[in-house]
Symmetry: C2
Subunit: 458 residues, 2 copies
Amino acid sequence: MSDIKHIVDKNSERYLNELFALLRIPSVSADPKYKTDVLRMADAVKDSLVAAGAEKVEICPTPGYPIVYGEKIIDTNLPTVLVYGHYDVQPPDPLELWTSPPFEPVIRNGNIYARGSADDKGQVFMHVKAFELMLQNNLLPCNVKFMIEGEEEVGSSNLDNFLEANKERLKADCVLVSDTSMIANDIPSINTGLRGLSYVEVEVTGPNRDLHSGVYGGGVANPINVLCEMIASLKDSDLHISIPGFYDDVIELSQAERDALNSAPFEVEEYKRELKIGDVMGEKGYSTLERTATRPTLDVNGIWGGYTGEGAKTVLPSKAYAKISMRLVPNQSPDKITELFKKHFESIAPAGVKVEVRPHHGGWPVVTPTDSNEYRAAAKAMQTTFGKEPIPARGGGSIPIVASFEKILGLKTVLMGFGLDTDDIHSPDEHYGVFNYLKGIETIPYFFRYYAEMKQNG
Amino acid sequence: MSDIKHIVDKNSERYLNELFALLRIPSVSADPKYKTDVLRMADAVKDSLVAAGAEKVEICPTPGYPIVYGEKIIDTNLPTVLVYGHYDVQPPDPLELWTSPPFEPVIRNGNIYARGSADDKGQVFMHVKAFELMLQNNLLPCNVKFMIEGEEEVGSSNLDNFLEANKERLKADCVLVSDTSMIANDIPSINTGLRGLSYVEVEVTGPNRDLHSGVYGGGVANPINVLCEMIASLKDSDLHISIPGFYDDVIELSQAERDALNSAPFEVEEYKRELKIGDVMGEKGYSTLERTATRPTLDVNGIWGGYTGEGAKTVLPSKAYAKISMRLVPNQSPDKITELFKKHFESIAPAGVKVEVRPHHGGWPVVTPTDSNEYRAAAKAMQTTFGKEPIPARGGGSIPIVASFEKILGLKTVLMGFGLDTDDIHSPDEHYGVFNYLKGIETIPYFFRYYAEMKQNG
């Protein structure tokens, strides 16, 4: 198998061109105006699986966007790997901050710039190409099943039902997912934990119409001021979240776990320089690595209300809105946290306003084991191709579906992602390293090989 | 003069049609995209003055939008009234909340619906038509000068220079302005005080780019959360403004003044019902009438940042913005308050963010006397046409120019406005009563008559 790198190098241009074709489809699941594009993307994923040699490829309808399934069963006695990924992407806004258009992929400084390049089209397509490579070169040592969904960025709300209804078809030995990042290209790491998510939209209504701030100002509640006060009150001066019961289910890390986490390579001065910030900021008593990987958060993701155009308008608006998300850590339930938020937020509203809290999707936090065959196979594969043993690392993001794999299918997941935290995956100028893309295609066949060996040796 | 009402009635349809033509011009001064419309409006004002019989009518250029001047000098021994108004209007946003388009005037339920109908085109045009009426019927007992500007809604920043440069041309005995409201159609009132204004835009920058809230959330300052906390901290739990020095120059009202103010007809339950609010809200220790007329305020007029589209996006944004205005009361200086705000706001920014405060226009608060000839003439005119003596009442809005008239021209102003607080003047569905429009045209000639008589009698 020493010629895998050679094969990848020889085909790299084609691998890139085929990915570019997928990146040109604006499959934004959050915004209904992209609906036909998302559906077109599902077709493209299907075609790519068929072309790579997958069988029983099918676009499986759901009440939302479809799930693309495909498989290659070479021997039912061999272990089966279920590959999961998603073909939908985040909205590209704000468009004006992109250096090049989000759906016209280009390579600059060794990076592929496009919405979805890292999250998750580039990482999904590594698996399709690695599968093709193994099949064409007689290197496939396991059965493979692909399940690529189109609603990850909006909460995967139809996936649980799909899992329930397809338990037999999805039978496997483990789930392999590339939708996370490594510490650095020369510090490979494997994600062993993900935060969960609770996401709400709030609407604060003051007077029944926009008013003149001179005539009414000072006499009635201004919903923007009130919203700001309510949001500010959700954290105390230590930036501890003040929603009653919020931390009740949090499992605190042991000192040993904290020490291990904090021993990962991390330079706070470099982090500050890279983000151009005067200082880091977060919950008192925790390091930056702890804050972003092991502590729950509360962030306003969007806020709007009143006059936001050019110049000055002295309006006292009727309404103000915010989108607020909370990242959750192991043992916190997204439904429970959403309910606690809603109850608390409604309770702190002054009499001069009405408040509505609308929950969006949520997701469970997960921790993956480091002593499983799949983790060890992934670690050995990365060691082979990177020349360095990967570090187990907690990630701050959320892939709610990982909890469902365990709960519904009884399967453990290994999160072998090849992105970097600096890929700007939900931001303008999202990019994915050409190095990372090709290194992923090269590494995946080793995962299959080592996994098959480990399973055979029990 | 008992036939004035008769003349107004006979011409009412024409008066309305001519006003409608002016209301169709979207003369929004705050937004550069309306520039040609604002200039077109200046032409229309000029034409209307010429048509009414004014002389030396001129569009006077300024570095911003022009000021339209016109006059009728019948006898230099007679007193001269300087009529001030503005032909620019507030932005019409949010457009979707208008029942009918903002620049297509219609009459519904006795009201003229259009942006600018009450503020201030309708009220300015009353003066043009009343002047025409007096001239055509030999009823003009004073000299008249018109000065109609196009930048009132953006701070009248070129008017002071115009006053300085045109002291001789603008020589007069008093200034007459209709740009305020009465308590009710059956409770006529004259505005005797206006709040000043300080208006700033703030920009809070966290990281140098939008980030993934899962990867970075909890570790770096979120500029929206920080902006909310900073805004919330600007008031204490009694809704007292906590900017150091903010109240230093405020002249507190005497108990007698407060009692007089609070004796004005006002039903808090009706006020709550009309605005559909559960309760009023404002500074502790003051009544609603005091809060909206005699106390300084701090209102957020607009706020924006992060993802505000459909669905959920887990972004940790780079920037958040707000437009914040403070209404000021007599003796507070807009420049000083803006400076206090800026200094304070910058001082409370945590190290994780950068803050920029950009001042917009400001305006001085004013109090007008009730013992002047012009006030007494206005009161007697309204008594004549409404059949009821008007109440002196403080208004919450701002007409910064009133302070300049006194400072630069040495002239006192009488604020004889015919609008109502419920006219929604800076909101969707701005309207002006047909009754109020025609009653204004009818009342103005009496003002001129009584003013001439009072001046003659010393």
